[in-house]
Amino acid sequence: MQSSKYEVIIGIEVHTQLATRSKMFCRCEVNVDASPNTRVCPICLGLPGVLPQTNETAIELGIKAALALGCEINLESRWARKHYFSPDLPKGYQITQFDYPLATGGELELPGLDKKVRIRRLHLEEDAGKLTHTSRETLVDFNRCGVPLAEIVTEPDIRSAEEADVYLKELRQILRALGVSDAEMERGHFRCEPNISVRPRGQSELGVRSEIKNLNSFKAVREGIERAVKDQIKWLEEGKEIVQTTYLWDERKRKLKPMREKETAADYRYFPEPDLPPLILDIEKVEGIKKILPELPASKRRRLLAEGLSRQDAELLSAEPGWESYFLALLQEDISVKEASTWLLNEARGILTERAENLSEFRIPVKEMASLIVLHRRGKLSRPAAKDLLAAMADSGRAAEELMKEMDLAAVSDEGVIEEAAKKVIDENPDICEKYRKGKTNVIGFLLGQTMKELRGKADPNTVREVLTGLL
């Protein structure tokens, strides 16, 4: 879909809900599942005479996120009012940061793409309430009004929907790893607004922007971007004039719906928030937070790669804390990195994927998994047998040794028995053996398969192969 004639320039704005217990400027509990309008107070309702009180933890989480993104923390940042009228915005303005954001100038490494996306800024603000529209009326719930948000804006460094996808997933991982946000897109904790422009390759001037809102899944983000790019390229080819537009992603129809210009052309009349003095941070406090930052996904991946894991495995482990802890637990049981990679990340994960289950539904305890791996290592289980055992253990959650005995999967190591089976297969397939002797050595695969079948998979394939070649 990428046309080499055109270059796609994408910048992304993410609003992420911070994992605090109370709201940004009042002490109402953050709980959007609560009954409507039960987590409200005079402050978040915008009653006459109220004043904001800044949430300490929200600031700390903002600092954490900014540090993890390699940003420079502005030790003095300021609050501003952003004005617009909307029933879900009680004061008629949002308290945010404009000229003096909390942090600026960071970057995010995109895993697997050998590329960095520059972060322009990170600032804090409060969320609006929730509107439910019908044709006859609109209902407003203010529980979400005032919830703390961090807004993270990139430079227009992203060049494709795929890069956008990787960026968002990596950003999300970081926020979750830090405990800054739960970052569940479907629950609205992680809202992505890409802005996209297309220009002929070689042109230095940026094209006209399309901005997309209401993208509620990674899939939607990819589709939305691809759609916007397609449209823009089409218009450029047709010589049509492109107008800067904001679109709403229509989830059902999977289309971009342009917002009416009146709704988007807003004069926010930003000015410094007079009810809050400047936010002055103590450098020691910031340094303190920096010291206790947990290991970030990128560095985790680098470390795991250095330990011999494949890139894919490293990415999986750094993305999924569940898999990582199981993996590490296996290593504790004296399982090697390679073995754990093969049996957990490859085989076991394959089974779960097949069954459309996730790790939380995995029935094999760590010790039993280790047990199975050791049995195989010691030759007590052939590889195919081990795979069967793994599947059976995943079904039943039962112990490795016990199940192995019951299913009679123990490896056949008696050479005599192997020889007997090999001989049988050779006798039954004279022409194949003839082909082998004549030089077509790859037919050994068939013979091996047949012999393994005879042995009901319970022998080590390498040994069987040796015996076969020996006999032939």
Binding site: L47, G49, F85, P272
Partner: protein, 470 residues
């Protein structure tokens, strides 16, 4: 009218047992029935409740050291300060039906100290005005001359104390709203340094400038109320975390005190008799006055209104009838916003919202709002330099005595110019007070305004008290 005692006098008498709180409420009731209809100081008055509370205070007795300091003392509250359970109208249609669900911090502090709250006083709509003629509940009249305005915007609070409808009151001052009516009615009105008194529960007009201040008959009373309501409040992030120093009212004029007069202010004064009335006590006490030039004061009305209107347009954006107040519903949401706000606000409020919105709008914000901010900083610096030479600055509070109702209301710009002496010190965040000059002009009070450096509220009150004794 039956003259009411001051807080200090009443407190003394209550402790003596020579008067009961219920007696005072009875006197207030009498004064109210005589004057309230003409003066229109109150929007809501709760005399029966006050009487009950007075009875309780009397029954509990008055014991030095044990009884809360304001026990039995009846205070009136400007109706832009929230009192839990009572309507808070801000003299506007748009807040019709709104009952405050919480107490302002100043109210909590008054209640904790035993004060009896009488009711909510009339004001210019949303505290915007200098004459109390813009209230949706009708204008307030000057108790000394019913043809004249009491001043604004805290006209109701001042008039109530003026005719004996309250012993003291709280008002709010943004560009003179406590000091001006005090000047017109012969009372004391004190505006603390910005950041001394919590604004939690004060309906915001101009957030960078609003302060709540006491209105009383004497500086001593004002100082007492101030000491109770002032001090840091975690609800208001703009309050100074350092509490104010205790006030020591000796009544003595310090020997080496230096008082400056702003030449620009006195130059512009049309009525020389006002000047004479203001300077008289200082001449009598032999206090030498130093001339200071603060040229930026000339633009103070412009700078003040530019700033204030922008903040007003922002602070009043929440009044849309959606969550509280009166809503004028139309078929669609957009139409409802327009009609509710269009009809809910009076002319002066509408005017300021329009100008303020304009002043913040893109393309204009630099020339308007940002210019005002810069002006403010430069003005504050000029004042700071002036205070290197003097301890206090003296001006008249108002360029004239109380004008007649209807005289200025038709020309908004004329009305704004009434703020000429009270806007600049407010902009500079300084503490300032208006005390009545001993001499009147044509029988009407003249206000003496004293300003001190930022945070020197206690020192200012001490000096003002001394000047009052001259």
């Amino acid at each position: 009218m039956k003259e009411l005692p001051t807080i200090a006098e009443l407190s003394f008498e209550l402790h003596q047992g020579s008067v009961r709180a219920k007696d005072v409420i009875a006197d207030i009731r009498n004064n109210v029935s005589t004057h309230e209809e003409d003066v229109n100081a109150y929007i809501n008055l709760y005399l029966d409740d006050a009487d009950t509370q007075a009875g309780l205070a009397d029954d509990a007795g008055y014991l030095e050291g044990k009884t809360p300091v304001l026990s039995g003392i009846p205070i009136a509250i400007k109706d832009n300060i929230c009192v839990k359970g009572w309507p808070c109208t801000c003299a506007s249609k748009i807040l019709e039906g709104f009952l405050a669900p919480y107490d302002a911090t100043v109210i909590s502090r008054l209640k904790e100290n035993g004060a009896i709250l009488l009711g909510k006083t009339n004001l210019d709509e949303f505290a915007m005005g200098a004459s109390n003629e813009t209230s949706v509940y009708g204008p307030v009249r000057n108790p000394l001359d019913l043809e004249r305005v009491p001043g604004g915007s805290s006209g109701g609070s001042v008039a109530a104390v003026g005719y004996g409808g309250a012993v003291a009151a709280l008002g709010s001052d943004t560009g003179g709203s406590v000091r001006q009516p005090a000047s017109f009615c012969g009372l004391v009105g004190f505006r603390p340094s910005y950041g001394r008194v919590s604004r939690w529960g004060l309906v915001a007009f101009s957030s960078s400038l609003d302060q709540i201040g006491p209105i009383a008959k004497t500086v001593e009373d004002a100082a007492l109320l101030y000491s109770i309501i002032a001090g840091p409040d975690s609800n208001d992030s703009t309050t100074n975390p350092v509490p104010p120093r205790e006030i020591c009212l000796s009544g003595d004029v310090p020997n080496d005190v230096k008082v400056g007069i702003i030449t620009e202010c006195f130059e512009d004064l049309e009525d020389k008799r006002v000047e004479d009335a203001v300077l008289a006590p200082f001449q009598k006490a032999g206090i030498k006055l130093q001339e200071l030039s603060l040229p930026l004061v000339r633009q103070s009305v412009a700078g003040y209104y530019l700033l204030v209107m922008s903040e007003v347009s922002s602070n009043l954006a929440r009044y849309d009838g959606i969550r509280y107040g009166s809503r004028i519903s139309k078929l669609g949401l957009k139409e409802t916003y327009f009609s509710t706000r269009g009809q809910g606000f009076g002319d002066e409020v509408t005017r300021r919202i329009l100008l303020g919105t304009f002043g913040l709008s893109s393309g204009y914000i630099d020339a308007y709002y940002n210019t005002a901010l810069s002006y403010r900083a430069a003005l504050a610096e000029q004042y700071e330099k002036a205070f290197e030479q003097v301890d206090f600055i003296l001006t008249p509070t108002m360029p004239s005595t109380a004008f007649k109702l209807g005289e200025k209301i038709a020309d908004p710009l004329q009305m704004y110019l009434a703020d000429i002496f009270t806007a600049s010190n407010a902009l500079a965040a300084l503490p300032c007070i208006s005390i009545p000059a001993p001499k009147r002009v044509d029988g009407l009070p003249v206000g003496i305004q004293l300003t001190a450096p930022r945070w020197e509220d206690s020192k200012l009150l001490e000096f003002a008290h001394a000047v009052e004794q001259i």
